[in-house]
């Protein structure tokens, strides 16, 4: 009897706690936004600008999130090292940019600038894919049938290894992309203050995500990947080469991340060995937000997260009088992650993976 009572009480406590948690969050969001908007400190154009930055940042997150979501879908594994794949792409883009800049090609004209960016993206995608395939072969494949914890730890190890390998090769300093004058200018889009670089990032991301979506949905390999994600053994029985599907998944996700690396660096200029760490975590948040294993979900989640990060601190916290709200940007992102994991673990668009318990 006593035990049942304690259990009931604990459950009640948990339920109350969760509800009050929800309440507090809603209060903060609603009240904060209201107060900020009412204070009139920020005009519409400012909000639009923040939204645009959020969209471009979100596009980058979305591209990286695709890799996470596809690998999780097919292997049920969080590829911690994915952020470093992104970083590798950023570095590869840097060296390509330097070569192109030294040749005078980079800033010759807007057209050459765009072609240069395309070249940088292609090189970055190649390097990232190479890295990802290597990591999969050396660190993940031998661990395919081990308990869940084991590949996760190995992924953390791979993440450290890649980070510090790059640090060893290239040093701890900051590498800055050569400036591309054309991209810093405003794009002549009416009603929208957007620079060319932001427009480029959004367009490039949308194009790549569309291509990926078509790839996953319409091609044979894509179908194979989906099949293996749903049920590995049956797919194998159907004659699908599971290994090849897995490697392709890694490769494609890495290619997206590599491109994301270049786009991110075009926006922020600076590349260091550590640049992949935080975007990696954010992108994983985005993948979970949208629904892990779900490709459109990753895109949506990325966009959503980008906007929250850009607008959130100012919108929610400024009105409440929180000092230095932008310092708490990551708190907002992580809180959202926890919220999603607690209240809707299947994400916005719902999970595509079958729900098996750990």
């Amino acid at each position: 009897m006593n035990r049942r009572l304690v259990e009931r009480l604990t459950e009640a406590a948990i339920a109350t706690f969760l509800w009050s948690f929800r309440l507090v969050i809603v209060l903060v969001v609603v009240l904060g936004s209201f107060l900020t908007i009412v204070s009139g400190k920020y005009d519409l154009e400012t909000w639009v600008r923040l939204a645009v930055t959020g969209a471009s940042l979100g596009s980058v997150y979305a591209l990286i999130a695709l890799g996470y979501t596809m690998v999780y879908g097919i292997l049920r594994m969080i590829n911690f090292a994915h952020g470093e794949i992104f970083m590798g792409g950023a570095f590869a883009g840097y060296f390509t940019a330097v070569v192109l800049d030294d040749a005078g090609f980079l800033n010759y004209s807007p057209v050459t600038a765009l072609i240069s960016v395309a070249i940088m993206i292609v090189v970055a995608m190649a390097i990232s894919t190479l890295l990802a395939v290597l990591v999969e072969r050396l660190a993940y494949r031998p661990l395919r049938n081990t308990p869940r914890l084991v590949p996760l730890i190995a992924a953390i190890g791979a993440s450290f290894f890649l980070q510090y390998t790059f640090r060893g090769f290239f040093g701890p300093g900051i590498y800055a992309y050569p400036g591309i004058d054309f991209l810093s200018q405003q794009a002549p889009i009416p009603l929208l203050t957007i620079r060319w670089v932001e427009l480029l990032v959004i367009v490039a991301a949308v194009v790549m995500m569309t291509v990926l979506y078509l790839f996953v949905m319409r091609t044979r390999i894509g179908t194979a990947i989906r099949a293996v994600s749903e049920d590995k053994s049956t797919a194998a029985l159907m004659g699908i080469d599971v290994n090849r599907s897995i490697v392709t998944t890694f490769a494609v996700g890495a290619a997206m991340a590599g491109a994301a690396g270049v786009l991110y660096a075009l926006m922020f200029r600076q590349v260091t060995f550590f640049v992949g760490f935080i975007p990696g975590i954010k992108a994983f948040t985005a993948a979970v937000l949208g629904g892990i294993g779900n490709v459109p979900g990753a895109m949506l989640g990325g966009l959503f997260l980008g906007e929250i990060e850009s607008i959130g601190p100012v919108l929610f916290l400024d009105g409440l009088g929180v000092p230095a709200p932008s310092q708490l940007k990551d708190v907002i992102a992580f809180t959202m992650l926890v919220l999603v994991l607690v209240f809707r673990p299947s994400g916005i668009l719902g999970e595509r993976v079958t729900k098996d318990r750990a």
């Binding site: 730890i153 390998t165 590995k232 599971v242 990551d330 673990p345 318990r357």
Partner: protein, 576 residues
């Protein structure tokens, strides 16, 4: 861990064959060369070159390259498992290929400005690889590869009985060479100058010291094998064995207690830190090792404990009151536990990997809050909480002054936690935790209340993390938000995982390796996390249960050697 198990001896029993699989030899050579080039480019070879192993003869960096080439040759010979001739040839060719790759690196560094691209492709590296000859000496690695590879190949043919001790001998030289400088100072201070100078140069072993070490280790192993000590030991009835081991255990205990006093305050500082991480590792051992909850946000509770003690005892700006340390510690533990409940309640329903991310998020949130302007009036923000007095107030010359007292305090607490963990493990609660770790659904079906049980594990882990934070505050005397970072969580998790989950000696070993060693070799701190990464991957690959796992975990996680690398045709068999 048996050295021979790293490179399984699959081929020793096979009959020698004459035909050589050249493709395999080439593959091994290329791989070995790639490793060698990697070691050079990532900076390990040039940076570690500053550390002599045997003073004037060989440095750690040089040893690394030599080891890489030699291993290449040995592996090639092993794969060939043939006659003397084939061993020599395969070893030589593999070594040659590796050497050629290194030579190409030298040529590239000199002719192309590789340094603008990869920082370590410097003249310094070239000089190292060519014994100072520069481009003209580009042939050196080729010849060295040939010779070393052949030698290693021949060495492989030596029977295991002698091969193993010799390898251990070399390893002992490496280890003692690294520790030489540290061992020398206390010997000198203790007046054993003669002995110290005979064995150790100011860094690294003397030649005499190296030869002596090698001889002792090899001789010791051979004698041991001859007289079959290990077999005899195993064959003893349990009671008798315990009788023999008891004095050894007592001796170890005495050493552990006396270490800081004998070895000086620097060592005391290092082992105090190790003891602190052992303390936290034991705490996480309950959460992760017993209950299987991967908590990557350990640092959050560490922060709560540290700041509680800091705020309650500091005599400076942010101190709320000036309590003595011992009065503040219970508060620290309780607050940490409450935080554990607070953070754990919502998230403990989340499964495995997601729990890891959620807890990681918490750790980051607490870290950000600690340094934020928002919490600055309370927590001090970047200014930190300083002037935290040491737990035991003694004069500066008392033997307990400084880190020594922290070491003993941490030891006492660690022993306490170990005791609690040991009792819990055998208890009903402990068995419930193990059940949850193995299969949640079945555990729930058997009637275990998942949330409550998990919450208890989480809270207990949090409590001990808070205790760790409290001791840390006493150790450093100040808390800065920069100390609240993800690496603390990763360190503790790595200790538990690498050391052996669920096992107390495992945690101690893990802490010694992952915390103690890097502290002693701070000039390599740039590469610390590189080795972490390699260690984690290697451990998961070859020994996922950890170095000294508990029996249950070993059965769960250990992949027996007769099962080959996972063939991924079939899917996951069991969840979790």
């Amino acid at each position: 861990m048996n050295v021979d198990q790293i490179v399984p001896l699959a081929g020793d029993d096979a009959p020698p064959t004459e035909s050589i699989d050249w493709r395999d030899v080439i593959r091994v050579g290329l791989l070995g060369g790639a490793v060698g080039v990697y070691l050079c480019l990532v900076g390990i070879v040039p940076v570690f070159d500053t550390r002599p192993l045997v003073s004037g003869i060989i440095s750690l960096g040089e040893a690394a390259i030599v080891a890489a080439i030699a291993t290449t040759g040995a592996v090639a010979a092993r794969n060939a498992h043939g006659t003397v001739r084939s061993a020599l040839m395969t070893g030589a060719v593999a070594g040659l290929i590796a050497g050629i790759m290194l030579s190409l690196l030298i040529v590239a560094s000199e002719l192309v400005n590789l340094r603008g691209f990869m920082l370590n492709a410097s003249p310094q590296l070239v000089a190292l690889l060519t014994f100072g000859m520069g481009l003209a000496g580009a042939w050196v690695p080729i010849v060295a590869g040939l010779v070393l590879g052949a030698a290693a190949g021949a060495f492989w043919l030596v029977p295991v009985r002698y091969r193993s001790p010799i390898v251990r001998g070399f390893l002992s030289i490496v280890i003692l060479g690294l520790f030489a400088g540290l061992l020398r100072a206390p010997l000198l201070a203790a007046g054993m100058g003669q002995l110290a100078r005979l064995l150790f140069a100011s860094e690294g072993l003397t030649i005499f010291g190296a030869v002596l070490t090698f001889g002792l280790v090899v001789g010791g192993r051979i004698v041991r094998q001859r007289f079959g000590f290990q077999g005899r030991l195993d064959a003893l009835p349990d009671a008798r064995r315990k009788q023999l081991l008891a004095p050894a255990v007592v001796l170890v205990l005495l050493i552990v207690l006396a270490m800081p006093l004998a070895l000086g305050p620097f060592f005391a500082q290092v082992i105090a830190l190790v003891a602190l991480y052992v303390l936290m590792g034991l705490g996480l051992n309950i959460t992760l090792g017993l209950a299987g909850l991967l908590d990557l946000g350990f640092v959050a509770f560490f922060a709560v404990g540290a700041y509680t003690v800091g705020l309650l005892t500091s005599t400076a700006e942010f101190g709320l009151m000036q309590l003595p340390f011992w009065a503040a510690v219970p508060f620290a533990v309780i607050f940490a536990m409450l935080f554990g409940a607070f953070l754990g309640l919502p998230i403990l329903g989340i499964r495995g990997d997601y729990l890891a991310i959620a807890t990681l998020g918490f750790g980051e949130i607490i870290g950000i809050l600690a340094r934020s302007n928002l919490m600055l009036p309370l927590l001090g923000g970047p200014r930190g909480v300083i002037n935290i007095p040491k737990p035991i107030d003694v004069s500066a010359t008392h033997f307990l002054a400084g880190p020594v007292q922290i070491y003993y305090i941490a030891l006492v607490f660690a022993a306490l936690i170990a005791f609690i963990a040991w009792r819990l493990r055998g208890s009903r609660l402990g068995r419930a935790w193990v059940a949850i770790r193995e299969d949640e659904d079945v555990a729930e079906a058997v009637g275990i209340n998942l949330i409550q049980t998990k919450l208890l594990a989480y809270m207990l882990g949090a409590a001990f993390a808070g205790l760790g934070g409290a001791v840390f505050a006493g150790l450093v005397g100040s808390i800065f938000p920069s100390s609240i970072n993800l690496f603390v969580s990763i360190n503790v998790a790595a200790i538990v995982i690498v050391g052996g989950m669920g096992s107390i000696p495992g945690v101690v070993l893990g802490a010694l390796f992952l915390i103690g060693i890097p502290e002693l070799f701070r000039e390599f701190s740039d590469y610390r996390f590189l080795f972490y990464g390699i260690a984690l991957i290697a451990m998961m690959r070859f020994r996922p249960e950890g170095l000294l796992p508990s029996g249950i975990v070993k059965r769960e996680l250990h992949v027996p050697e007769n099962v080959g690398p996972a063939t991924a045709v079939t899917g996951d068999t069991t969840p979790g």
